[in-house]
Amino acid sequence: MSAIVSVENVTKTYHLGKTEVPALRGVSLEIHAGEFLAVAGPSGSGKTTLLNLIGCVDTPTAGVVRVDGKDTSALSERALTDLRLRRIGFIFQSFNLVPVLSVFQNVEFPLLLQGGLTRGERQRRVGELLQAVGLSGHARHRPSELSGGQRQRVAVARALVGRPRLVLADEPTANLDSTTGATIIDLMRDMNQRDQTTFLFSTHDQKVMAHAHAVVRIADGQLQARETLQAAS
């Protein structure tokens, strides 16, 4: 089974004035369909950088990142955007919902960008997902009327609505208390199990990490061993 994501010997160096900041230093990683993988590491270790490269919002300094079989360095800005739209879902640390849209409209948004679905199909799909994340009753609410955990559920629904092959979540629980954080991770795992959607999320929280199938540890821009966890069973 081929990898959805393959990262080969990638380095990423940021330039801050004259000093070079090596965020990733020769990272290789393969992610396969259906995985529920956590990236764990201390602050500044390069988690966000790695996810950005995989999420096609940034390109590596050296090495190759392939998403869905495509080398991201070779794609145009428009093609990358399209790749994000159709293949990747994002869950952000700060939820990042569009404040002027209702819950329903936020979730519907990627479908509208993708196009191709009728109004009825969209409604059905959004409705199902809201049901799955437990927010059927809040479809007409504005994000500002929801709690943090509820907002992140909306974000999960939005990330999944376009039926992506890969969902990236950079510290999705960092702005939530640990109980709520744990339920969000469980929700993500349910989704992973339901649709076989691949998940990659980062965290530096041990408890959150415990909910993943596998963890790759990162420190100082370098990946360490990949561990398969008990909880994954």
């Binding site: 950005n52 428009r78 955007t81 952000f92 640390q93 700060s94 990042n96 849209l101 960008l113 993708q114």
Partner: protein, 708 residues
């Protein structure tokens, strides 16, 4: 279909919701745009309406669409007068050539000859008028008539003259007390004549030599009459028939047109009102106008109150006009109408003229219905022959006597000084005043001089021949040209005995001669510029030495005032929109910066760059269009309200001219609405441009940043 429709819909939705979310900002931007467009729409509608009004005023009353004049002229043509004096134009020697050449240019419908100038006119002398009545009586008495009414009127008319003479003498005495020796010396003869005419002995002996006494009064006393003033008349010498046909705004209000080919003058009605009318009546008119059209009152307005006061202190002018019988009649009428017990006419007049806001309209009516029929309201009447004196080109004064056939008004411009001060004079009289011989005449004179050789006509005889017998109407003093005139008199022999005022000139005679400028009327006023070029080509080809100007240029400062209004308006508009541009731009930049993470998120989850730039442009455009349209509607409403309220009243006679009537009724110009919307769109695109660039540069990475 769906792939492009989906993003557009969500884009619009987000854009509009953002506008509502940032209500305060939206409203501020909107208010500025609203004001701006309202100003453009209302302002440019007003300016366009003034432009249209002036266009029709100027074109329809004097200028036509194009004007031509000699290109070697020192000054530029200024139909409404230059800076304090008439512009000096080189004469166009032969108008018929101009007419012939220019009439053939496509779209030129009419060519109207013109010569504008100012001259002095002797206004009627009240003593003359009174003496005329006495003479008419005397004529009947000498013929043997003897009925009672005649004799009674004869006595009254004589008494009237006697009272005037006495008044004159008293005035001269009073003046003497103040005057110096030199003046006394100059007026010695006058004083003696007046003393003689005022003496009882003169009147006792009147019946013994009626005609002799009359002659003495007419020749020696009347010229000293106080009313015999001079006023300046501004006139356009023209082919009167062609003029009245070409300028449809001109119409004769009293009297009639000058018969075809005759000499004659149509006095400007406005001019007559202002300068020839009995002062009391004129002031009453002004008070009425102030009250009816300018919302001023006698009680509340110093100037109006002053007019009332002047009317009560200056009743002498009226008394002076009335002979004893008329005076009694006037007193009786006033006693009945006012009503009043007063016996004294001067006091009755004061009662009539000391008006208040309450009784003004009633007393105004009494004045015109009861008193005015007994008075001569205008110092020049239709049917009078007036003497116009003007400095000719030679520097000498030329004078012509012309009959006043009527008064001329300019439709819609009845109260405008600029239009109404103009009188219309026949071209032949104008040429006499101007003092220029036609090329034909010059040529014939040259020819005749050669043929006649030394056989010069004696000067006296020449004059006699030139001016005919007793009926000379042209009293030329062109001493420098007298020989030519004499010769001319010989060649123009058929006219010799003829009364000039009765002579009918042919179109050829009218056309073949000097003019100063000519108005061109086009059949299609939208082709002014193009026709001007064609006219210029035609005159150049014919070697006419003409300068072609459009009506606006020809009307001098007056015509350019609209351009000035327009510049002021558009400067204001420019400033407002420049401010709007800066403010909108700033607001949008700030809003964009605040939304960087939102924009990054949209980009991260798959929105293309054009989606976010489109979203921002839609936001500015929507605000601009909405408030722009609202502003345009507001401007249109203002225009409509102004119309509904009867327009903007023309507070003074200049505005009357600009507005082409008593009020400016603005119409909503579709162009002004289109222009304003165009400006608004431009401003919104320009002000949305920079924020859109900022938005375009936002990368999806911004979405990843943590809250702080």
């Amino acid at each position: 279909m769906a792939p492009s429709l989906g993003p557009a819909r969500i884009l619009l939705r987000i854009a509009f919701r953002n506008l509502f979310a940032g209500r305060a900002k939206t409203l501020i931007i909107g208010a500025i745009l609203l004001l701006g467009t309202a100003l453009v729409v209302a302002g440019s509608s007003l300016v366009e309406s003034v432009d249209r009004g002036m266009r029709s005023s100027i074109q329809g009353s004097l200028a036509g669409h194009l004007q031509v004049y000699d290109d070697r002229s020192k000054d530029e043509l200024a139909l409404y007068g230059g800076m304090g004096r008439e512009p000096q134009l080189e004469p166009v020697v032969d108008f018929s050539r101009v007419k012939e050449v220019l009439s053939r240019v496509p779209h030129v419908k009419r060519v109207v000859p013109m010569g504008i100038d100012q001259a002095m006119v002797a206004t009627g002398n009240q003593i003359d008028v009174a003496l005329e009545k006495v003479r008419a009586d005397v004529r009947r008495i000498e013929a043997g008539e003897r009925d009672d009414a005649l004799l009674r009127h004869y006595q009254a008319h004589k008494d009237h003259v006697r009272r005037m003479v006495t008044l004159l003498r008293d005035e001269l005495r009073a003046a003497r007390a103040l005057a110096d020796d030199q003046l006394l010396q100059d007026r010695k003869q006058a004083g003696e004549d007046l003393a003689r005419a005022a003496a009882p002995a003169f009147w006792d002996g009147f019946e013994r030599d009626r005609l002799g006494s009359l002659e003495f009064l007419e020749n020696r006393v009347a010229p000293q009459g106080m009313e015999g003033g001079m006023t300046i008349v501004r006139y356009v010498g023209t082919d009167l028939d062609a003029f009245l046909e070409a300028f449809d705004r001109a119409y004769v209000v009293e009297g009639q047109r000058v018969p075809k080919g005759r000499r004659g003058i149509l006095l400007g009605k406005w001019y007559a009102e202002e300068y020839l009318k009995l002062k009391t009546a004129r002031r009453l008119d002004k008070i009425k106008d102030a009250r009816d059209f300018q919302r001023r009152t006698i009680a509340g307005d110093e100037e109006v109150a002053r007019w009332v006061k002047e009317n009560t202190t200056q009743v002498k002018e009226i008394l002076y006009q009335l002979d004893p019988i008329q005076a009694e009649e006037a007193a009786a009428r006033l006693r009945r109408a006012l009503p009043s017990e007063e016996r004294d006419l001067p006091k009755l007049l004061v009662q009539l003229l000391s008006t208040t806001d309450q009784d003004f309209d009633r007393k105004y009516a009494i004045f015109y219905d009861r008193l005015a029929p007994l008075l001569q309201l205008y110092s020049i009447r239709v049917g009078d022959t007036i003497t116009i004196k003007a400095p000719a080109r030679s520097g000498y004064f030329n004078a012509v006597n012309v009959k006043v056939y009527g008064f001329v008004h300019f439709r819609g411009l009845e109260k405008s000084r600029l239009a109404g001060v103009m009188s219309l004079l026949d071209l032949m009289s104008w040429r006499d005043l101007y003092g220029y011989l036609s090329p034909e005449q010059t040529e014939e004179i040259r020819h005749l001089k050669q043929v006649a050789g030394a056989q010069a006509v004696p000067r006296e005889r020449a004059e006699a021949e030139l001016f005919g017998g007793g009926g000379a109407a042209v009293e030329s003093q062109r001493a420098s040209r007298i020989d030519e005139a004499a010769v001319l008199a010989r060649i123009a022999r058929p006219a010799k005995a003829e009364d000039l005022s009765a002579r009918v000139y042919s179109q050829r005679e009218i056309d073949r001669g000097v003019v100063l400028n000519a108005a061109l009327i086009l059949d299609d006023p939208s082709r002014i510029a193009e026709t001007a070029r064609a006219v210029d080509r035609a005159q150049r080809a014919a070697g006419l030495h003409l300068k072609v100007v459009d009506w606006q240029k020809a009307s001098g400062v007056v015509g350019q005032s609209v351009s000035l209004f327009r510049i002021v308006l558009y400067t204001a508009v420019l400033i407002i929109f420049a401010v709007a541009l800066v403010i909108i731009n700033n607001a949008m930049v700030m809003a964009t910066l605040q939304r960087v993470r939102e924009i990054g998120t949209l980009r991260a989850i798959g929105a293309q760059r054009r989606f976010v730039t489109g979203m921002l442009l839609v936001e500015t455009m929507a605000v601009s269009l909405f408030f722009g349209a609202l502003g345009a509607a507001l401007g249109a409403l203002a225009v409509w309200l102004i119309r509904a309220a009867g327009g903007i009243p023309a507070g003074n006679d200049q505005l009357y001219f600009f507005f082409s009537g008593p009020a400016l009724l603005p119409t909503l110009g579709t162009t002004s609405v289109a222009i304003s919307m165009g400006i608004v769109l431009l401003v919104s695109v320009l002000s949305g441009f920079y924020p859109a660039i900022i938005a375009m540069r936002v990368t999806p990475v911004e979405a990843m940043a943590a809250d702080d």
